[in-house]
């Protein structure tokens, strides 16, 4: 059992407040990802949980115990650093066994535990090497091994994959997910890469300027972003935003008019919206298709062909840029004029403050959790 609860956590550097009161709870065995643009405070928050940064105000609890003032090594956590932070003067085995050595664990037991961790991570043949003799991926494994050896309640990862090349990153991503399943431990993972967040997380916490914008399952954030920031941050390529005006409000939909003159019925609860209000329409590139009688007309400026799909960077008649995802087979070329049809059910509407207007239907998978299936213990 290891649940983590943050209550009103704040961090000040002098007069500058970088973490502005965060409330969050992370369940046992949950894979929780902190994601956000650089400078949003995600790393600082992780380091506060680790005990490397002092908590200015608020309570940090693990399993119901307040641990604000407990030294890092006694919190039952292990951390994997972005730079791996391997001890360059020690062999792989010594790196992994360092914490045990400091804790006074007998040599034989230490060796057995290191060997066990090495087996899990396929490091068996590298135990006598020094870190500088390892490749990037191997170093990464050693850093994880160093964490595993301690059998911590909680694993902390600070952008662990950002120094790896693309293919290795995908491979490690899969391996981390497998490891999470195998170790059945709580993990907190910091990244700026929303793909890492979407693929690994049970729970994503989107941070911006020291506050939590939204916390939820990957699909909840994808289908029900709470505001324009989250909507733009999750999903790739980015969601398109278009200015619009409310023209009619009914019980089942809100009708908006686009600058092009086209009109759409979006299935959202109008809430406080009234006719004449300025709103923003959000629509993902994958929720548009090319059709003869579309709502939007524009000229293709750039074509990106990925093989399976094609992205069309399109300039609308009023000058707005729009990214459209189309089939990989379409022959459309640069400077061709296209007509785009939107899927109203997949559209998002944001009010003047940038807050999402609640959708009529909740997505069926929005609450799907990916918690590891408990093995017989």
């Amino acid at each position: 059992m290891s649940t983590i609860v943050l209550k009103g956590i704040q961090k000040n550097y002098g007069a500058v407040q970088v973490i502005k009161g965060i409330d969050l709870s992370i369940d046992d065995r949950e894979f929780c990802v902190f994601v956000g643009p650089s400078g949003c405070g995600k790393s600082t928050l992780l380091r506060m949980i680790a005990g490397l940064e002092e908590i200015t105000a608020g309570d940090l609890m693990i399993d119901g115990q307040r641990i604000n003032d407990v030294p890092p090594s006694e919190r039952g956590l292990a951390m994997v650093f972005q730079s791996y932070a391997l001890y360059p003067h020690m062999s792989v085995a010594d790196n992994m066994g360092f914490s045990l050595r400091l804790a006074g664990v007998p040599k034989e037991e230490r060796r057995a535990k290191v060997a066990e961790a090495a087996r899990i991570l396929h490091l068996d043949n590298l135990l006598d090497r020094k870190p500088k003799e390892l490749s990037g991926g191997q170093r990464q494994r050693v850093a994880i091994g160093r964490a595993i050896v301690r059998k911590p309640k909680v694993f902390l990862f600070d952008e662990p994959l950002s120094n790896l090349d693309a293919s290795l990153r995908v491979q490690m991503r899969i391996e981390l997910a497998r490891l999470h399943d195998e170790l059945a431990a709580t993990m907190i993972y910091v990244t700026h890469d929303q793909i890492e967040a979407m693929t690994m997380a049970d729970k994503i916490v989107v941070l911006q300027s020291g506050i939590v914008e939204q916390a939820g399952t990957p699909l909840e954030l994808y289908h029900h972003p709470r505001n324009q920031f989250v909507a733009g941050f999750i999903g790739s390529p980015k969601m398109n935003f278009l200015p619009a005006k409310v023209t009619a409000v009914t019980d089942t939909a809100t009708t908006i008019a686009l600058p092009s003159g086209a009109s759409l019925d979006i299935p959202v609860r109008a809430g406080g919206q009234k006719v004449g209000y300025a709103v923003t329409l959000g629509v993902r590139p994958e929720h548009m298709r090319l059709a003869g009688e579309g709502e939007l007309l524009g000229e293709v400026m750039v074509v990106e062909r990925l093989g399976g799909e094609t992205f069309l960077y399109t300039q609308l008649n009023d000058g707005t840029m729009l990214i459209v995802q189309a089939d990989g087979e379409i022959p459309t070329g640069v400077h061709e004029r296209i007509s785009i049809k939107l899927d109203p059910a997949a559209c998002h509407l944001f009010d003047g403050e940038g807050l999402a207007i609640e959708r009529m239907e909740r997505h069926p998978l929005a609450n799907l959790r990916r918690l590891p299936t408990r093995k017989a213990s």
Partner: protein
């Protein structure tokens, strides 16, 4: 000839010429030490002659070189060890837990080195006389420790700052206490830096001539005093003076040459990031 090869040859000539010019005074001194006194002052200067060891023999008869050399070694190494021992904790604190005043403190330390030693010679001399520190090795060790402490702190500070913070934090996560952090992580990691700091400190101690001349006479006198004893009355005996000088600088020169790779790498004072 390939232009690259020609360029390399030109560079070789220029490089060796520059090095030769810089080294020439030392070369000439060593050469003179193998001449007779007559050859040493001969005009035109003699480049080819029958080398003699007679000067070295005379020097050995006149003064106990080994005694002076041992003093130099003990004092240089002793002062360097002591200064490093005192400086490591200070540099550690300043590099990893800097406060608002840390930089000012460092600069103040350096500024104490600007004080001309002569300015405080009389008080120090009187203090040494009253405490019985005159002409003792430990007395000179204390003075040299203080003399080099600011430089040692400064250099260690710059080396410690280069140690990735992540590694120390990883150690902290692994449960290292401050002492273990310093002994098991920081010192092994910054060993090259500590080595070049110690090297520089030893060189500075070895060559120091003001305090050694004024605070020692015989018992604890290092090689600088040894040279002085040859230079004052024997100023005109160039060959013997050269022989004495050669054996006085030989240990540190050889030591410096052997460790120059370390020195070249480490002697940056934080100038290279």
């Amino acid at each position: 000839m390939h232009p690259k090869t020609r360029e390399r040859l030109v560079l070789t000539v220029v490089g060796w010429l520059a090095a030769g010019l810089i080294f020439f005074p030392i070369f000439w001194m060593i050469l003179t030490s193998f001449k007779t006194e007559v050859e040493a002052v001969a005009t035109p200067p003699q480049l080819f002659f029958t080398p003699t060891l007679e000067n070295y023999i005379t020097v050995r008869e006149r003064a106990d070189y080994v005694h002076f050399a041992i003093n130099s070694i003990v004092i240089s190494v002793g002062a360097t060890l002591l200064a490093t021992l005192i400086a490591v904790p200070a540099a550690y604190a300043m590099a990893f837990f800097p406060g608002k005043r840390t930089k000012d403190l460092l600069l103040w330390m350096l500024s104490t080195k600007m004080m001309p030693a002569v300015g405080v010679l009389i008080p120090i001399y009187l203090l040494f006389r009253d405490t019985g520190a005159i002409d003792t090795r430990w007395g000179l060790i204390v003075v040299y420790t203080l003399m080099n402490l600011p430089i040692v702190v400064w250099m260690l500070y710059t080396f410690f700052k280069e140690v990735p913070k992540d590694i120390l934090e990883a150690g902290r996560m692994d449960g290292a206490k401050p002492k273990q952090e310093v002994w098991m992580l920081l010192l092994p990691l910054s060993l090259p830096g500590i080595a070049s700091t110690a090297l520089l400190s030893i060189i500075l101690c070895w060559n120091e001539a003001f305090w050694s001349l004024n605070l020692t006479t015989s018992e604890a006198a290092p090689l600088t005093t040894f040279i002085a004893s040859f230079s004052a009355p024997e100023g005109l005996f160039w060959a013997k003076l050269s022989a004495a000088s050669t054996i006085a600088i030989a240990p540190i020169l050889v030591f410096g040459w052997m460790s120059q790779r370390q020195l070249v790498r480490g002697l940056t004072f934080g100038a290279v990031k």
